[in-house]
Amino acid sequence: MYSLVALGFVLIYKASGVFNFAQGSLVFFAALTFVGLLEHGFNFWLALPATLVVMIVLGLAIERVVLRPLVNQPQISLFMATIGLSFFLEGLAQILWGANVRGLDLGLQDEPLQSIADATGINVSKFDLVAAAIAAALVVSLALFFSHTRIGRALRAVADDHQAALAVGIPLQQIWAIVWAVAGFVALVTGLLWGARNGVQFALTFVALKALPVLILGGFESVPGAIVGGLIIGASEKLAEVYLGPFVGGGIEGWFPYVLALLFLLVRPEGLFGEKIIRRV
């Protein structure tokens, strides 16, 4: 589940070198829009494409309004811009749809499946399985998209070097628009799954922060890294809470992933699957 959020980050980082702080807000916005549409009498299958369209339009608008004027600015400016963007989106989402906590029912039970529990003694809910399946499907399709389509290759070229990509005739702005649209799509899927699990509320934006240790564990540029990192963080934070938590008064879930990632970085500064950074003078 963390992997999904991290995926949104990786996607944008890979393609534009922008560290997108607003991904969490995108997730929040997507989930809220979806629930809001449902409440206005849309049925599920109508609300889904409608939200998708909203997210894609939003992604395109972000590219046009925020990022295009900031081309060639230092990375920190772009980063700050996405923080500003996240404030903006949070405000917008809550004005449009209100700030109440809503439940989101995808029609999946979040209860342990009896058959699996009997066979292996492990409690796995149908919801978790579906979530895992969706995450896996998303990852596989994105991986294929990146490595086997024209657009995917153009994306990677842009990520490597903006100017060189422009020189060989890759339309930079189109590519960025696509990336943001896809990020919007990933945000939608993430928002639905997380929203169904925890309710659609403001706290969704914090999920994005949890994605950061996932990212640095896995390496910023790596899609498989995001997945493995997500698994490690998700599992370790729960394990730490259960086994270490009682000794220190609990609540360590909040910071444990960061410290874990920090310690990890001391050993491998570029993350598990990140590209080795070679620095020249």
């Binding site: 923080i83 404030f87 360590i252």
Partner: protein, 358 residues
Amino acid sequence: MLYREAGQFKTSYAADSAIVPIRQDRIGLALILAIAFIVVPLAASPYLFSAILIPCLILSLAALGLNILTGYAGQLSLGAAAFMAVGAFASYNFVLRIPGIPVLLAFAGGGLMAAAVGIVFGLPSLRIRGFYLAVATLAAQFFIIWCLTKVGWFTNYNSSGVITAQHIEIAGFTFDTPRTKYLLVLAIVVLMALAAKNMTRGNVGRQWMAVRDMDVAAEVIGIRPMRAKLLAFAVSSFYCGVAGALYAYAYLGTVEPEAYNLDLSLRILFMIIIGGVGTILGAFLGSAFIVILPIALNMLVGFLDNTLHLNVASSVASNLELMVFGGLIIFFLIVEPHGLARLWQITKEKLRLWPFPH
């Protein structure tokens, strides 16, 4: 015309390396200080002191600290508020547990404690850089706040985790009104800003800037990156720590660790971006902007509400505030990526020739 340095010759090395080399600047600075120290305390209302001036000054100090780290030494940090928290809680404990300790000494102790913590969390900067480091400082942010909340000793076993700052008393004089608190904060901020200015112009500051621009190259020309980076973390955390202590003692009075959350860290980061990265002036301009903006927006919304009878719900107003805030930040980054300090520089250039531009 008015602002031209023609005819001001420097006849000694001391004059040549003065902090403000131009006479007009000196006069201007003296005027600003005079206004801040004499006119404002006489004229301002208690509301102005406690809602705008004091937080503005305190947050400038924190922004100054972060600017040393991020602007001069190039280490992006998202944990400024955590170091402020360390400073505040350390000062509280110093005053609480060492009877008769002067408050100023406790503030300095809080700052030093923050510096020590800053060095510990600065250690990863030796190996990682850029956004990886930013995430590492997030670890500091969450860990420190958790620590202060969970370990009862820091809050003197208060059940709700809240500390109430003691009275500030220096040499028998109690600083309890907004006006006196303002003067105390102002004095501390001015002194520390002066120190920061001198540090950044001197040997240390040049080392930081060399490390910021290219740390491998800096190492090659004989700068020890470890020393420079850790020093930057220590000094920056010291500033943040003192600012945090003042935030608790002179502004809030009663604080919980959650007052120093990520949101505050981000706000401080905004201040230096909007004010201008790598400038001392920028920290002040930025913090003034960030402190005043929400208040101004609030008043604007209230004004529109009253005149147009829109009946804006308070939740909508606060969200609208969030939107405008985010939007303005983006706008600023697009229009003036070098911050308000750069605008001031441009103005100075224009003023040199004004009113005869040719």
